[in-house]
């Protein structure tokens, strides 16, 4: 994987996230956060992890951003009052974070990347079920499990419909 692509994407990611955190107006901040999630998904895709990348884009850059939008509509995205000085507590928080980052970064720089796990075939066999344990017994019941799940969900739906059709009626 080309290293320039990685550096570009990482730098862009950090820049976008930084602006997401520093911008005062909540709606703009939210847009930058959405963009940041999108970028992270692109990083995953660039390395070929298609599942993970798509999933990241779908949830974070999709569902979660919409959810934030709804929250902002409910709460009212008035910007935090500007013109306030940076208080002492904020400086302490910022200082601790920067210190923490420097220490962790130096650790990561000194030690190389973590060793890659053993081939997947061995791992799959280790995670495979022995024949005589409760897990394989439960796995053999998976058809019934689906049936019960369907029943459970329909029962829940019926219950909800039942509860909310009697509005204004308290026992």
């Amino acid at each position: 994987m080309a290293i320039e692509l990685t550096i570009l994407l990482s730098a862009l990611l950090i820049g976008v996230t930084l602006s997401a955190l520093l911008i005062k107006r909540l709606v703009y901040s939210l847009i930058m956060l959405f963009y940041s999630g999108l970028l992270l998904g692109c990083i995953f895709l660039a390395y070929g992890a298609s599942y993970a990348g798509l999933f990241q884009i779908i949830t974070f850059a999709g569902a979660v951003s919409v959810m934030f939008m709804v929250i902002l509509m409910l709460i009212g995205g008035e910007p935090t009052p500007t013109g306030q000085r940076i208080s002492r507590e904020q400086v302490i928080g910022l200082g601790l974070s920067i210190a923490g980052f420097l220490v962790v970064a130096s650790i990561l720089w000194q030690f190389g990347p973590s060793p890659i796990p053993v081939e997947e075939t061995v791992l799959a066999r280790q995670m495979g079920f022995a024949a005589d344990d409760p897990l394989s017994f439960l796995w053999s019941l998976r058809a019934w499990d689906i049936v019960f799940l369907v029943i459970l969900v329909s029962a829940a739906l019926a219950g909800i419909l039942n509860l909310f059709s009697k509005e204004g009626e308290h026992e």
């Binding site: 507590e89 904020q90 302490i92 928080g93 601790l96 974070s97 210190a99 923490g100 220490v103 962790v104 130096s106 650790i107 280790q126 079920f129 022995a130 024949a131 005589d132 344990d133 409760p134 017994f137």
Partner: protein, 595 residues
């Protein structure tokens, strides 16, 4: 012992269902209770009856040498789910389930007008299932899981009436005190595992027999596991929770704190005796813990006024006798302790159920407010009377045979100090038992009694009382069967001097109680007023020898003060909490960098 792999679960369903059935049924209790209260009660009774039936079907397996089912639990870790069906497990499973059935039946009448019964039956079923699972566990880790479950059920049931602060306090106290024992048990387990590599009882027995466990480790882990047993069985010095646990409903007291859960400690010690029994220090500690608890319980029962507390102290005392018997170290002592376990379960449950029907009627636990109830409540009268007779050890009741077995074993072992002390305990036992009996059923009727409509208990309560009364008289017949089930040689009859000694102790205890509480000469309150040493002793006994005050001053207040100190860092603002988090990361990262 045959070791079978359960490749198909279908062939072995009694072994599984005897403990799984009540556990699974817990989830269905709320569903059934939507159909009505009656359905819920019958459902619970039916489930426990089925579990008892399964336990009975396990008896032939246990008689033919026992078996152990084994199933891979976490394949990576090597822990296995082991169900052990041998004499001891089936013996206790039978006791738990049969008594559980009778008590669930009794609950139908006793808890009739209560709310929150769904919670009650859920907890009782959970308890019965976990207790059966505890006794049928084949390795220490599995047993520990059920151990904790049983403790939780007990605390919740003590605090069943949660709007009463004393009940809540008692439930918390029970949990915390048994927790001390549980921590010891856990550490002992882990110590043993680290040094032997296995949790399974079988493997540990063979290793200990072959001398492969170092002596120091054996003693240390043995003592720690004993600590756990002491906590659960309310032995000195962790006995303080059991008297307060009487704040719970009487059925709970009968089931958990008389007949089953407190026997878990005795079961544990009996189960690990093959492992640790080679160390005479360990046996000595077991015996002395037992006899001290027996003396403490027996003396405190003689002073208290609450009828349930008398039975609670009595339980502590009888359990102490069981520990004493186990501490002798001989197979005869082992059998005597298990036989006494069964007999104590029977007569103590009977005593509690009879007291329960009194409390249900009168609404008080104070014995001074009872009196003169003999004529009007025949079934309860007979039940309580039989329980007292069995407790004191009057032949032919079961208490006589089992206690005598212990005393005979003590005599055979040749330890005269313990023998004399055990006889002293018998004297005290008979004294407090008859004291309670005379206070409750004889003398003049108190005002409270006169104001209430005295009638006998309903059928649901009377049937278990009747059945247990019959059992208490006839259980001596199963001594041979029990010894065959438990795999020991049937003990031969002791010399007549032993019988004479224990009957003599019985009489020495009975006479003062008869004089003071039936004949009222000398009048007890007069005695207290005139003799200074009597009132001083009484105050010490009522105070519980000062254990509660000591624990409160030393431990509880320390914890409270530490808590107040820690309160200072609870600021409640997000930013300041983040400082703590960042500081932690910084420190950990610096440590990693430095290394």
């Amino acid at each position: 012992m045959g070791n079978q792999e359960a490749s198909t679960l279908n062939n072995y369903y009694p072994e599984w269902l005897v403990w799984l059935l009540p556990l699974i049924a817990v989830v269905f209790v709320p569903v059934v209770s939507a159909l009505g209260g009656k359905a819920r009660e019958w459902f619970a009774a039916l489930v426990v009856l089925l579990a008892a039936a399964f336990a009975v079907t396990l008896v032939p397996i246990a008689l033919s040498g026992g078996s152990q089912l084994s199933m891979a639990w976490l394949p990576i870790s090597g822990f296995r789910l082991q169900i052990r069906v041998d004499g001891l497990s089936v013996f206790l499973a039978l006791i738990v389930n049969l008594l559980g059935f009778l008590i669930v039946l009794y609950s139908q009448g006793y808890m009739k007008r209560e709310t929150g019964l769904t919670r009650y039956y859920c907890l009782v079923l959970l308890f019965i299932g976990s207790m059966t699972g505890l006794v049928m566990a084949g390795n220490l880790l599995q047993m520990y899981i059920f151990w904790e479950l049983v403790g939780i059920c007990s605390s919740f049931l003590i605090a069943f009436w949660y709007d009463r602060p004393e009940a809540v306090r008692a439930g918390l106290k029970a949990f915390i005190v048994t927790r001390v024992g549980d921590v010891g048990l856990l550490i002992g387990l882990i110590l043993l595992y680290v040094n032997t590599g296995t949790f399974s009882f079988d493997a540990l027995e063979t290793m200990a027999g072959g001398g492969k466990i170092a002596g120091g480790i054996l003693l240390a882990s043995g003592l720690l596991i004993l600590l756990g047993a002491m906590g659960k069985s309310a032995q000195f010095p962790l006995h303080v929770w059991l008297p307060d646990a009487m704040e719970g409903p009487t059925t709970v007291s009968a089931l958990i704190h008389a007949a089953t859960m407190v026997n878990a400690g005795v079961y544990l010690v009996a189960r690990v005796t093959p492992i640790f029994g080679s160390s005479s220090i360990w046996l000595g500690v077991v015996a002395w813990v037992g006899i001290i608890s027996a003396i403490l319980g027996a003396t405190m029962a003689g002073a208290t006024l609450d009828v349930k507390r008398v039975l609670a102290y009595s339980t502590i005392s009888q359990l102490g006798l069981m520990f004493l018997a186990l501490g002798i170290g001989s197979p005869g002592g082992w059998f005597a302790s298990q036989f006494h376990l069964m007999s104590q379960a029977a007569f103590k449950a009977l005593g509690f159920l009879a007291a329960g029907s009194l409390i249900h009627l009168l609404g008080t636990r104070d014995m001074n407010e009872m009196g003169g109830l003999g004529r009007k409540m025949p079934v309860t009268f007979i039940a309580f009377f039989f329980s007292i007779l069995a407790m004191s050890g009057v032949p032919p009741f079961i208490g006589f045979w089992s206690k005598d077995l212990i005393i005979a074993e003590l005599h055979n072992a040749g330890d005269s100090t313990l023998f004399i002390l055990a006889l002293f305990v018998s004297v005290c036992t008979s004294f407090y038992a008859f004291r309670a009996f005379f206070k409750v059923f004889y003398r003049k009727q108190s005002d409270l009694v006169k104001s209430k409509q005295i009638h006998e208990s309903p059928l649901a309560m009377a049937i278990p009382l009747g059945l247990l009364s019959i059992a208490v008289v006839t259980l001596w017949l199963v001594e041979g069967g029990a010894s065959r089930l438990l795999g020991v040689v049937e003990p031969e009859a002791a010399s007549p001097w032993i019988y004479a000694a224990s009957l003599g102790a019985l009489l020495i205890g009975f006479l003062p109680a008869y004089a003071m509480y039936l004949r009222q000469s000398p009048e007890p309150s007069q005695l207290v007023a005139t003799h200074h040493w009597i009132s001083a002793t009484r105050n010490v006994l009522l105070d519980g020898y000062g254990f509660d005050r000591f624990y409160d001053r030393v431990f509880a207040s320390t914890v409270t003060r530490l808590g107040s100190a820690v309160r200072l860092i609870q600021t409640g603002s997000l930013g300041k909490n983040m400082w703590g988090f960042l500081l932690f990361i910084l420190i950990v990262a610096l440590v990693v960098l430095a290394l």
